[in-house]
């Protein structure tokens, strides 16, 4: 069994960053509220900060020791906030600017994972520009021919399954593409891999027990993610030992390939042959009460406050980001 002992943190003044103007604001606020309560119970001095025009000033003047990022979506996950935190010299949880921005862009990230030898589904990326200026619509028919159906159409950036459609017939593609463009400048169209959904959290480079995901109805979409009870989870996942090892190796491989730090969550599909495929890596995973990383931590006997405490300890250990620390 994977072990990832919890670390205990020095009492600290922690800024919990959540909210912002991203489309995942609500999910982020839920993560932030839960983390703040847990850290307060552990004796830290916690301040919740929304991400707004006062952010930099507040960070500079707030007397904080570090920032815990419970941000999801653009600005929070794509390296923007990380840049600011480095400028003000505040240690923070999660990956640095480069890793954040690489992971945020799914087409780039998928390319890096493939280059690292990890199995990712066949895919194609199409930008709005390709349609507007280069007549990409004439090539849409080729997508189904090249990748087969069903297909997964999703925005090239963003999480929580927002804007994601599973397309069973090539004629449904244009609608799904237009819908995904509402969330991002480009869409990623992937071959649909049938199988069991498994999420593997990695904490400080070590895998936590994989979590198996069974939505009670339909796909693991927004409602299935955030309605308590709408999805059944098994932790640890009911996998053959060698399949479990392959899943864990894949999650750690992705964490390393992207240069993640502290915590990440890899979303995988284990196909009918028992082969895991990497769908995505989330470098600022959700911490709500229906989120996967807390479930995985629990399966490793790490309760939610332990998990939060560990994230604080990791940020304390690593200090302000090396390349950017103020003189």
């Amino acid at each position: 069994m994977s072990t990832s002992p919890s670390l205990s943190a020095e009492p600290a003044a922690v800024a919990v960053l959540s909210g912002g103007i991203s489309l995942e604001r609500e999910v982020s606020l839920r993560s932030g509220a839960r983390v703040a309560a847990a850290l307060q119970d552990r004796g830290h001095q916690v301040t919740r900060l929304d991400v707004d025009a006062q952010l930099v000033r507040t960070l500079e003047q707030g007397g904080f020791d570090l920032a815990l990022l419970a941000l999801h979506g653009s600005a929070g996950e794509d390296g923007t906030v990380q840049s600011l935190l480095e400028l003000v010299g505040l240690p923070y949880t999660g990956p640095d600017v480069l890793a954040s921005s690489l992971a945020w862009n799914k087409p780039i990230a998928q390319g890096l994972y493939a280059r690292a030898g990890l199995a990712v589904p066949d895919r194609v990326t199409l930008s709005q520009q390709a349609f507007r200026e280069m007549g990409a619509s004439a090539a849409v028919d080729h997508i189904a021919t090249a990748l087969g159906v069903p297909l997964v159409v999703k925005p090239a950036t963003g999480g929580s399954s927002l804007g994601l459609t599973i397309v069973n017939d090539a004629t449904e593609l244009p609608r799904a593409i237009v819908g995904a463009f509402s969330y991002a400048e480009a869409v990623l169209i992937e071959r649909f891999v049938a199988g069991t959904e498994v999420a593997v959290a990695v904490l400080d480079g070590q895998p936590l027990p994989p979590v198996e995901i069974h939505p009670k109805e339909g796909a693991y979409d927004f409602a299935a993610r955030y309605t308590p009870g709408a999805t059944e989870f098994h932790a640890p996942a009911r996998l053959e030992p060698e399949v479990r090892a392959a899943c864990e190796a894949m999650a750690v491989g992705a964490y390393e390939a992207i240069g993640a730090r502290h915590v990440s969550r890899a979303d995988l599909i284990v196909d009918e042959q028992g082969v895991p495929w990497l769908l995505e890596l989330d470098t600022c995973p959700g911490l709500t009460d229906t989120s996967l990383v807390p479930l995985a931590a629990n399966a490793a006997s790490l309760d939610f406050p332990d998990l939060c405490e560990t994230l604080v300890a990791l940020a304390q250990r690593d200090g302000a980001s090396p390349g950017q620390r103020r003189a």
Binding site: E26, S137, H234, N298
Partner: protein, 430 residues
Amino acid sequence: MLLDTDPYLTRYAERVRGMSASEIRALFAVASRPEVVSFAGGMPDTSALDMEAVEAVVAQVIRDSGATALQYGGGQGRAPLRELLVEVMEHEGVPAHADELLITVGGQQALELIAKCFLDPGDVVLAEGPTYVGGIGAMTSHQADVRHVPMDAEGMRIDLLEEALDGLAREGRRAEYVYTIPNHQNPAGVSLSVERRHRLAEVAERHDLLIVEDNPYGLLDFAGETFPSLRQLVPDRVVYVGTVSKTIAPGLRTGWIAAPGPIRDKLVLLREAADLCPSNLTQMIVESWLRTQPWREQIKRFAAVYHEKSVAMLDALATEMPEGVDWTVPSGAFYVWLTVPDGIDTSDLLAKAISHRVAYVPGRGFYADGAGGDHARLCFSYPEVARIGEGISRLGELLHEEIELVAAVYGDDAPQVRPRRTGPATGVGG
């Protein structure tokens, strides 16, 4: 180990099973940020109230009758308030006796109590399509089968209502009631024509129908006109719902039901089971407001504010919207109902709208059956006049881009863009 994120799941009543998290609701968390011009929430402009008068009224209630104001009250609501609300109804030409009234916590509690009173699981209600999202919620939380009757610029299509009633009769079923918002309807922004009110009354007699007449907006006609109420036409067949939310303020949470005696008695018992009684404090504030303040003039002031805002929105729509986009032209209240070209889904588009810093309510929210993807509700009552043009300009830019994008993505299969109609849209429904 099997983990359930909701260990109470097996304990819930059947009626909460379908309740789930929603993407759209999550997006509204962003829409309330100040950067976004939000045409989403149907909120009155409470800044148009005379706050010094409000302060005086509240202080006077506490000074003169503080102990009573903070005490429990009767389940039907205070008699003095009911008498004053009869005057408010009279002002609109709606007849009522104080004894027929039941004070509720806003119009929403009224809709919930009525649904609870009449609906068993699977019962059919006929409602305008589109209709008020909170009305749908009240009915579906009692597991009703809400079916829509299409509308046009004159409100509900009574011919199609009859068709639906005949269809139900053929199935050996009936509609428990017809839910309608006849005046300045939410979300369509149109009113039921006088001729159709008479036809609806006839149909009600012929089919032995009960009508729930929800009237939050009747006094907010821009020209100060009022229309005959259904309660006036067929009083024994109407359960009437009123509210002070749009004529005074929604924070008072004061609404009412006017119903025939036997129905009123049942509703009083249901309300006592729900929350015992309405707040004496807010009831007495409303009483004092209606007794001491020039409330008729205040309502006129509200109507003038909303009229000005509607003009700002309609002017902006006329200059900013691309070909193929239609909208209704309201003669009162808060709403414009927008119809977008084929290929655009307003639920999908909301994320992009919010990125463009403008928000609306996607049309699907106003249908119980998943229709409405090509509509959006724009509420002009709350944003400042100066920001309405900016918001519509953002929305226009977005729709221009989206129409181009749809054409580019669909290529040769692109849907045809309808030519622009002028004046009120002739069709409202999906």
